[in-house]
């Protein structure tokens, strides 16, 4: 049995396998599939709670993943953000000496969550400029919020 604590290298190796055998489009297609099938809980939470759904969703997942982060929610201005000081997933991959991470590992976070949130009326952005240090910043903003 593969433990859930061993999932991240399995995930990274899946991206590598798909790209090597079937090209980058297959990797993107898989991310779209995973977003549609797996992130139904994020979608349901946001539909039910608005931007607070992001807070509820990531408050659970990031704590379970033992992430080092700051999360902010301002419902009045319709803004949510995560400042990831040290991503547990990318951090793990960077620490392994015996495996090479997928070259664009962090792109999956951009594709998966954008696909859920933008159709629900949110602007989604992910700053990946420091992912080589396992750092990033995710922001979600409500479009056309009433002032």
């Amino acid at each position: 049995m593969i433990s859930c604590t061993e999932f991240i290298p399995a995930y990274s190796e899946l991206f590598k396998y798909l790209e090597k055998e079937h090209g980058k489009n297959a990797v993107i297609d898989f991310w779209n599939y995973l977003s549609d099938e797996f992130l139904t809980n994020l979608k349901e939470l946001v539909v039910e709670n608005g931007i607070r759904g992001c807070w509820i969703y990531w408050n659970k997942t990031l704590n379970e993943e033992a992430a080092d982060f700051t999360m902010e929610l301002d419902e009045e201005s319709g803004e949510f953000s995560i400042t990831m000081h040290y991503c547990p997933s990318k951090g793990r991959l960077l620490k392994y000496n015996h495996i090479e991470p997928y070259h664009n590992y962090c792109e999956h976070c951009d594709v998966l969550y954008r696909r859920v949130l933008e159709p629900l009326g949110f602007e989604y952005s992910l700053d990946r400029s420091q992912t080589d240090q396992a750092k990033c910043r995710l922001s979600v903003k409500t479009i056309n919020i009433k002032k």
Binding site: M1, F7, A66
Partner: protein, 155 residues
């Protein structure tokens, strides 16, 4: 409602996100649906060859006790019920129910029809090019329970 802020350090929580079992299941299912059963085995063999390369090295140097200790640790992390009968030349593992399969099903997600390959292919790859072999003696699709036999080749 005023602005809400929380900050957490990695040391504040244990690393244990069970939903990763669900994500792995969808990865297996994607491969199976789009590229077939052989693609699932190819991917899992590639993953095992890469990620478990240190485990294989230890298996070569120290024998089956390496696998025993690895799964005792894995099952403890996952809070699984299991039984291991060990000798240096043969080891039988009985996992009474798979925490992965139970979590996937508990969340209402369909378990991939080839999810058992995450056990069989991975362990066969770990044993490849070592004096040991692995075979699956039983697998229960309902709860992911399995019986695995590791043995020294030629016995």
């Amino acid at each position: 409602m005023p602005k809400e802020i929380i900050t957490r350090k990695a040391s504040d929580n244990p690393y244990f996100h069970k939903d990763f079992h669900i994500a792995l299941n969808y990865g297996i299912n994607y491969l199976y649906d789009n590229f077939g059963e052989e693609a699932v085995r190819e991917y899992l063999a590639q993953f095992a060859a890469s990620y478990y390369s240190l485990l294989k090295k230890s298996l070569l140097e120290n024998g089956l006790v390496t696998i025993k200790e690895h799964y005792e640790k894995t099952y403890k992390i996952e809070d699984a019920e299991f039984k291991i009968n060990y000798s240096p030349d043969e080891m039988n593992i009985h996992l009474f129910a798979s925490p992965a399969v139970m979590h996937i099903k508990g969340g209402g997600h369909p378990v991939s029809p080839v999810f058992h390959e995450t056990v069989l292919t991975v362990n066969k790859e770990i044993c490849r090019n070592t004096p040991f072999e692995c075979e699956m003696m039983a697998y229960n699709d309902e709860n992911g329970a399995y019986k695995l036999r590791f043995y020294r080749r030629g016995r």
